[in-house]
């Protein structure tokens, strides 16, 4: 289907346009009224008072929160660096010729993908000390994130390889490349390109999921937001500030992802790959520019 205006159907006629204009004015008023109600509620409960916000803008508190953002990014980097090799291994395992290898990799992917990430992180948090392993909360969270995302990203890698035309692997084998050579030299490089949109989208999800480290008392952004809120006696304001910081970072990343996807489609004429059972963000990102992903 050709590109359509955001509005469905044919362009409106003169009467329809007039109606839409009236509706626009009315709805704008209603929306403004709603916002005013919320602000009034804040003011009513003294949540807009200057000193409630001023304590948060204290340089020490801000530095503390930015430090939390730093920890969030650190956890993100560690977890992503661990998840990527796991994902490639899982995908190669599921595509392997040997049945036991396929079965092992398949079980890993299906089990870890099907269970809540929070459950996995909490399990590690309780289980590791019980087993006599004492590691930093950063690593507890990172291992949990990496195991879960390794499974999810593994499916992305696999879908990328499977999205290639059969002829690619057949031609690679025909010119005498071994299985591994054809994987390494022909299939994976092409698959990697197709994986970029889904991969970046999953990275954004991973960044959001680092907030789960809150439950293992790792001082990432959310935890520090709580601490700063209690310290400054303005929990609502501190958490709003934290939410704004998350939105700023994620919004920027989504923008970059979208641009990369558009550029890639223009250059290679390949859309994003479909991943069966893809979690939330994968199915949603494909629709950002109004294109259906079915």
């Amino acid at each position: 289907m050709s590109a359509r205006a955001p509005v469905i159907g044919d362009p409106l006629g003169p009467r329809g346009r007039r109606r839409a204009l009236v509706a626009s004015v009315l709805s704008a008023l209603v929306l403004a009224g709603l916002i005013a109600l919320v602000v009034a509620r804040f003011a009513d409960r003294g949540q807009l008072d200057r000193d409630r916000w001023d304590v948060l803008l204290d340089p020490d508190v801000l530095r503390f929160l930015l430090g939390g953002l730093g920890h969030t990014l650190e956890l993100f980097a560690v977890a992503a660096a661990m998840a990527l090799p796991i994902a490639v291994l899982a995908a190669l395992g599921r595509l392997a010729l040997s049945r036991p290898v396929r079965w092992t990799a398949g079980t890993y992917v299906e089990v870890f993908r099907a269970l809540p990430l929070l459950l996995q992180i909490l399990f590690l948090y309780v289980f590791l000390p019980e087993a006599g392993i004492h590691i930093d909360p950063l690593w507890v969270a990172a291992i949990g994130l990496a195991l879960y995302n390794g499974a999810v990203m593994g499916e992305i890698v696999r879908a990328g390889v499977l999205s290639l035309e059969r002829g690619q692997s057949e031609a690679a084998r025909a010119i005498g490349l071994s299985y591994w050579e054809s994987m390494r030299l022909v299939l994976l490089p092409q698959a990697a390109r197709r994986m970029i949109p889904a991969g970046i989208s999953q990275m954004i999800t991973l960044l959001k999921d680092t907030s789960l480290a809150y439950v293992v008392a790792f001082e990432e952004l959310l935890r520090r937001g709580r601490i700063a809120g209690e310290y400054a006696r303005s929990p609502l304001q501190a958490l709003l500030l934290v939410a704004a910081m998350y939105i700023a970072v994620n919004f920027t990343l989504s923008r970059i992802a979208r641009r990369l996807e558009v550029r890639q489609r223009r250059r290679y004429g390949a859309g994003p790959i479909a991943v069966a059972g893809a979690p939330e963000d994968l199915s949603a990102l494909g629709t950002v520019d109004g294109r259906s992903d079915s």
């Binding site: 289907m1 359509r4 955001p6 509005v7 469905i8 159907g9 044919d10 409106l12 839409a20 509706a23 626009s24 709805s27 509620r41 804040f42 949540q47 089990v111 099907a114 269970l115 809540p116 990430l117 929070l118 459950l119 909490l122 399990f123 309780v126 289980f127 019980e130 959001k208 999921d209 907030s211 789960l212 809150y214 959310l222 937001g225 709580r226 809120g229 929990p235 609502l236 958490l239 709003l240 934290v242 939410a243 998350y246 939105i247 994620n250 919004f251 989504s254 059972g277 893809a278 979690p279 939330e280 963000d281 199915s283 949603a284 629709t287 109004g290 294109r291 259906s292 992903d293 079915s294």
Partner: protein, 214 residues
């Protein structure tokens, strides 16, 4: 194993809470999603803008941040809800944004002639959406809607962080009380699989049943 069998009642309660959270939040989220998808294709500019703002704000904030913000922040505004209610509302607010985007993708698969024909026989925009476009749109996105249901089931575990004792909370309590993390969490894993595996099968069947062939 004994640990699981001895505490079957606890796991049962946790499982029931998880089921309640999931079902209530999904129904609410579905309603929000239909509304958001409608707003986003409406001919009225401010409503479209409101839809986009909602989706962008919610999707770019981690779910746990929304939960913690609501749990500790809303009482400061005089809105005191139980942890369970807070969890249901926030889970549906969050999932609603994703369902809205998914349904909007479905709206784009509905042939343009359908909308024009609906308008030609004199249906208003809301009628066109509720009677013609949305019923077809939802049918074409059953698989992603099913994935969102399963994602929501897993996401209900975050309610643990605001002291709702669902499956994850049950497992954590048992594990810390008995210092036997493996069986406690193993039990919860099995319970989650009991929920998500049939859900996958159900949505698969539903897809075949309501599929629109074009």
């Amino acid at each position: 194993m004994d640990l699981i069998l001895d505490n079957l009642d606890l796991f049962g309660e946790g499982l029931w809470t998880t089921v309640q959270l999931t079902v209530l939040a999904y129904l609410l989220a579905f309603a929000i999603g239909l509304a958001i998808a409608t707003l986003r294709v409406s001919p009225v500019g401010p409503l479209r803008a409101a839809g986009v703002t909602y989706v962008e704000l919610v999707r770019n904030t981690p779910l746990l941040v929304l939960l913690i913000l609501a749990f500790f922040g809303l009482p400061k505004l005089g809105l005191v809800w139980s942890p369970f209610t807070t969890a249901v509302i926030i889970l549906s607010v969050y999932t609603g944004a994703f369902i809205g985007e998914t349904i909007r993708a479905g709206v784009n698969t509905v042939a343009a002639g359908q909308v024009d024909a609906a308008r030609a026989i004199g249906l208003t925009f809301t009628q066109t959406m509720s009677l013609v476009v949305l019923p077809q749109a939802v049918r074409s996105v059953v698989p992603p809607l099913g994935n969102l249901f399963i994602a929501l089931t897993k996401n209900t575990s975050l309610a643990y962080a605001i002291s709702v004792v669902e499956l994850t909370g049950t497992a954590e309590r048992l594990a810390t009380d008995t210092a036997r993390a493996l069986p406690a969490f193993g039990g919860a894993c099995v319970a989650y699989l009991i929920l998500t595996l049939p859900a996958g099968l159900f949505f698969g069947r539903l897809e075949r049943k309501v599929l629109v062939r074009r």
